[in-house]
Amino acid sequence: MRRLGSVILARSALATLALGVAGVLYGFPIYWLVVTSLKSKAELFASSVHLVPHQPTLAAYSSVLIDRGFWVLLKNSVIVCFSTVVVTLVVGLLITYPLTRLPVPARLRVGVLNWALSLRFLPPIAVVIPYFAIVRTLQIYDEPIALIGIYSLFNLPFAIWMLKGFLTEIPLELEDAALVDGATRWVAFWRVLLPLAAPGVMAAGIIIFTFAWSEFLFALILTATPNAQTFPVGVQGLVTQFEIIWNDMAAAGVIAMALPLILMVIGRRYIVAGLTFGVIREK
């Protein structure tokens, strides 16, 4: 019994230690990012690196957003992400509604789901090479619509699997009751199914938004000017310059992180479900 007790004690000591180490490894880099963003230019040139800012200032934020004009990129990001969410959800519902609510052969349903899953393995860099040529031909290079199209495509597999999960959970009888009462399919969908599925659809939308927000490769390749460049492309521009302005770069990093983290507070219960195509459910 005493052995058991000491095992438990050793375990909880180990757990505390491990959680502490993890806390430092995750906390400190974020601390350093925020601290750097709060330093003034003068402090960056101090002879020794300060671990705590001596005169915190928001100058770097106004420098990034206003002087460098990054608020335009922020606006582009929001437009692109929001449109992506709408397109992906609409197409996703058009595909998953018949699959889950209407009589279709099981083979078709499994086939569509498997096909969507295989798209998850599609390497973006291999797709962007022909897509780039298409975008040039259609003359939508450096236009937000080029990004919206490809983002919607790459988020679709995930939307299909998530929406399928949410729709199957809603009993068919509820819609049938409405149909028996004389409602049309459309009314039953709009008035009965969609309100019930709303939390799930919202969650899928939030997650698609954060994915699109993070996307970098397509945005780097398919845009050239502030007409369509998204925020991550702007961040990249600050990083690869010859002389890096550390506080501006850090402020841009903080801004890029902020929105997904805020949205995550709303969508937190669904993130892991989304990332694993609905296999992992949080209760």
């Binding site: 375990r11 973006p124 860099i125 291999a126 090479i129 780097l220 991550p232 997904p260 694993t276």
Partner: protein, 294 residues
């Protein structure tokens, strides 16, 4: 009876009426680039047909094999570490942390890295590893371990480790979350029965937990592999593929061929080769994936 059947067939017709246009559109959007990339790979920039020259150029380029090697090394560093660390943490929290509040707090903290843009994490990594302002050297110096400036991003091996560390930082929590929720499906009775039989922690893991976690390992490997093979963002920010070509993973290499050397023929040939080999890889893994396909 007849009315019922007629309604059924009307529903079926509605199903195809909605489904077919949507699927056809998506199918076309996916397929057109595939066809185009095959055409590109068989022709020169101006569209003359050249047969397999682009393929022999792409496959004969030693840089390709370096890129494949780097991608392999990166995968072999990142996947085992993420799985082992994630598993270790999942077991530790599952067995020692009982307080619901603390578990919930760990959950929220663990999903944070998953939603943050890799570009921003690349920025953070830069602030840590870069020469001059990088805080890692500063800390090593203040603590008194090292007084010499280490060029983390200038040495091929260290640069690879630095790039891999970013992946481990961002994605270990994902492995943890999946495995932790897997551990919660292990029935309490079988654990208690095993404990009564005197099974230690290891035996419990080996004979009970592992049985429930096995399908989740397949799942983790599938999703992580899909992402690791396409890694671009944080490497582009942190090292840009350097020093030399030490961290030039497959995506970065293909990016360079198309958008720095403007060699579309070769890039398209590479894309075709990558698409084919990824499809084969996908076919291998997808069969054993524990997804609800119904």
């Amino acid at each position: 009876m007849r009315a019922g059947r007629r309604r059924l067939s009307r529903d079926e017709r509605l199903a195809y009426l909605i489904l077919l246009p949507a699927l056809a559109a998506v199918f076309a959007i996916v397929t057109i680039p595939f066809v185009l990339v095959i055409i590109q790979s068989l022709s020169t920039q101006d569209g003359t047909f050249v047969g397999s020259i682009n393929y022999s150029r792409a496959l004969g380029n030693p840089l390709l094999y370096e890129a494949i090697r780097s991608t392999g090394v990166y995968t072999l560093i990142v996947l085992p570490i993420e799985i082992l660390l994630g598993l270790g943490f999942a077991l530790l929290v599952h067995r020692t942390v009982r307080r619901v509040g603390l578990r919930a707090a760990i959950y929220v903290l663990a999903i944070m890295p998953l939603v943050v843009p890799p570009v921003a994490i690349g920025v953070v990594a830069r602030l840590i590893y870069a020469p001059g302002y990088g805080v890692l050297n500063v800390i090593l110096d203040r603590v008194g371990i090292m007084h010499q400036e280490i060029n983390w991003l200038g040495d091929p091996t260290l640069a690879m480790l630095a790039v891999a560390s970013v992946d481990v930082w961002q994605w270990t929590p994902f492995v943890y979350l999946v495995l932790f929720s897997g551990l919660q499906t292990v029935p309490r009775e079988s654990v208690e029965a095993a404990q009564l039989d005197g099974a230690g922690g290891w035996a419990q893991f080996r004979y009970i937990d592992l049985h429930y976690l096995r399908p989740l390992f397949v799942l983790i490997i599938f999703f992580r592999l899909a992402d690791v093979l396409r890694v671009f963002d944080h490497v582009f920010i942190l090292t840009g593929g350097g020093p030399g070509t030490a961290t030039q993973l497959l995506s970065l290499y293909m990016y360079r061929v198309e958008f720095k050397f403007f060699d579309t023929g070769q890039a398209a040939a590479l894309a075709v080769v990558v698409l084919v080999s990824f499809s084969l890889l996908y076919a291998l893994i997808a069969r054993v994936l524990p997804l609800e396909r119904a």
